[in-house]
């Protein structure tokens, strides 16, 4: 029986408490008490771990849904251009100096994500094909990237510049319960919407015409995908910057253990994404690096690029 859900849930239950012990200060549960152990655990590590679970679950599930929607194993949640637009929003908050105000940065990022969703809706319209829609997303992504570069090149002072560059390399360092409160509700809502899209994504396995003949409404599915991805990716970028490759890698890791229907992948991908981000963030905390800790976004890209390459080579050998 192919049921990856139980093992993944068990692994999460074991990994979560263990992950709290790891960091610059190691906390051994049965050894002599460490100074400030309680604030370290409750104010620093627990919110960070919870945030890793929330973002990882969102990215994993939306990656699985996106691969199902585009019927392409190389798709990831970034393809709609929502993450770059959210990042542009955040960068503008640094550029304009509003980022020092509490909650301004995530608000700017969420506005950026909302703008991307609006643009997608306007460009794609009612009867857009998946291909046109993807191209629209890529256009939005490249526009957001160009405007982000413009903001960097015109940045008013070196501090803003350094803030922008550091922030763009996504991380969970120094995140607290505020960030959890910002990201968790939209992500959970997004996950619920993705679950509702599940049967339509399954039908889409047979191609657009067959899916429509099975009663799928393409406009409704498109709206569900844009809104859920927007909520998940937008709120994720708002609190942690850009964290790539999770949405691409995770569905591949769990697909062999499912019946391969997109809907069967959603929950396992959420669990595996949560586990991956939790472990990766732990690793970032403990890797000794002069000048601070390894940035999560960089670590995942370092791991993700070879993974992507291996995937391409495997696909090539299958096609040859």
């Amino acid at each position: 029986m192919k049921r990856p859900i139980v093992p993944l849930a068990l692994a999460l239950l074991i990994a979560l408490p263990l992950s709290l012990l790891a960091g610059q200060v190691w906390i051994a549960p049965f050894a002599a008490p460490v100074k400030n152990a309680v604030p370290i655990l409750m104010q620093l590590r627990l919110p960070r771990a919870v945030l890793a679970l929330v973002l990882g679950a969102g990215l994993g599930a939306s990656g699985a849904a996106m691969q199902g929607y585009l019927r392409n194993p190389l798709a990831d949640p970034g393809l709609f251009g929502i993450a770059p637009m959210a990042a542009l929003g955040a960068v503008l908050s640094f550029y304009t100096g509003f980022a020092v105000q509490p909650f301004a940065l995530p608000a700017f990022a969420l506005v950026g994500a909302g703008g991307a969703m609006l643009l997608l809706g306007l460009i794609a319209g009612r009867a857009a094909s998946v291909a046109l829609f993807t191209l629209a997303g890529m256009m939005i992504a490249s526009l957001a990237g160009a405007l982000t570069s413009l903001a960097i090149s015109l940045s008013p002072n070196p501090f803003a510049l350094s803030e922008i560059v550091t922030w763009l390399m996504g991380a969970l360092a120094d995140r607290g319960w505020h960030e959890v409160a910002i990201a968790a509700p939209p992500t959970l809502l997004g996950l619920v919407l993705l679950a509702r899209a599940g049967p339509s994504l399954d039908a889409l396995t047979l191609g657009e015409a067959a899916a429509r003949s099975l009663g799928v409404d393409p406009a409704r599915l498109q709206a569900l995908m844009v809104i859920s991805t927007g909520l998940i990716v937008g709120s994720g970028v708002a609190v942690a910057g850009i964290i790539g490759f999770v949405g691409l890698m995770v569905p591949h890791m769990v697909r062999p253990f499912t019946d391969q229907r997109p809907s069967s992948l959603l929950l396992p991908s959420a669990l595996a994404g949560a586990l991956l981000l939790l472990l990766a963030d732990c690793l970032c905390r403990v890797v000794p690096l002069a000048g601070g800790e390894l940035r999560l976004g960089i670590a995942l890209s370092l791991a993700g690029a070879p993974f992507f390459l291996r995937l391409l080579l495997r696909m090539r050998s299958r096609l040859a």
Binding site: R71, T205, L206, A210, G215, Q260
Partner: protein, 241 residues
């Protein structure tokens, strides 16, 4: 008991096509490339805006899920994006139905048995031969237990034996009360296995009726530009040209 297209117009594809199809019949849609066969079939499946009625009710007024329960559509592409196994593929045919797992399993079992796929039910699609894959795709349609089965060139890429077996299966489905509409290229297959044919030419219906009455050498010359004659006994005829 009819599915009917009323004066369908789609620029460049159909120019005023009307045709009625009945349950219990195997109707073959025939015509040269570009005559509008696939467009007519897609319109009958409710995938294009156009005046199509199902037992008198305009398709456009039916909720998509209700329409999907009545009309099963097998597109030409045969696309399956993921490497599902045969049983999982067939289960996709249950999507329009809001029925429980037991009833779904029963319908899937019946579809797999009807197409001799029981031994292959746990085999992934990538490990099937072309004939097995075509049967698995049809099992997906049958699992939905539709009154109407519309298939676009279901025999393409099959060897002769599998073509014959699948045609016999379509005939059995029609005998059991389904309306079967197939887009075919092979006039001899239509002659021997269809109960009715609809011949399209340049987006309009050139002729329709029982194959023996419609597919005369004169019509074949007019529509396909081919001097041809029929050889052999009724039910096992071949076209010589």
């Amino acid at each position: 008991m009819t599915l009917a297209a009323h004066d369908l117009h789609f620029p460049g594809r159909l120019a005023g096509a009307s045709a009625a199809f009945r349950r219990g019949h195997v109707t073959a849609i025939l015509g040269p490339n570009g005559a509008g066969k696939s467009t007519l079939l897609a319109a009958l499946a409710g995938l294009l805006p156009g005046a199509v009625t199902l037992e008198g009710t305009p398709l456009a007024t039916l909720a998509p899920q209700m329409r999907a329960r009545r009309i099963g559509y097998l597109p030409q592409s045969g696309e399956v994006a993921w490497n599902l196994d045969v049983e999982t593929l067939a289960t996709l045919g249950r999507l329009p139905h809001r029925t429980g797992p037991a009833e779904n399993a029963q319908a899937v079992d019946a579809a797999l048995s009807a197409l001799d796929l029981n031994a292959l039910r746990h085999r992934p699609l990538a490990k099937l031969s072309g004939g097995e894959r075509a049967r698995a795709l049809l099992a997906r349609v049958l699992a939905g237990q539709p009154d109407w089965i519309l298939a676009d060139e279901p025999l393409a890429s099959l060897d002769l034996a599998h073509q014959q077996a699948l045609l016999a299966r379509f005939r059995a489905l029609a005998d059991a009360g389904a309306g079967v509409v197939l887009v075919l290229h092979d006039l001899a297959q239509a002659m021997n296995h269809a109960t009715h044919v609809v011949v399209l030419q340049n987006g309009t219906v050139a002729a329709s009726g029982p194959p023996a009455a419609v597919l005369t050498p004169g019509l074949i010359d007019m529509v396909w530009g081919l001097k041809a004659r029929w050889l052999g006994e009724p039910g096992a005829q071949a076209l010589a040209y």
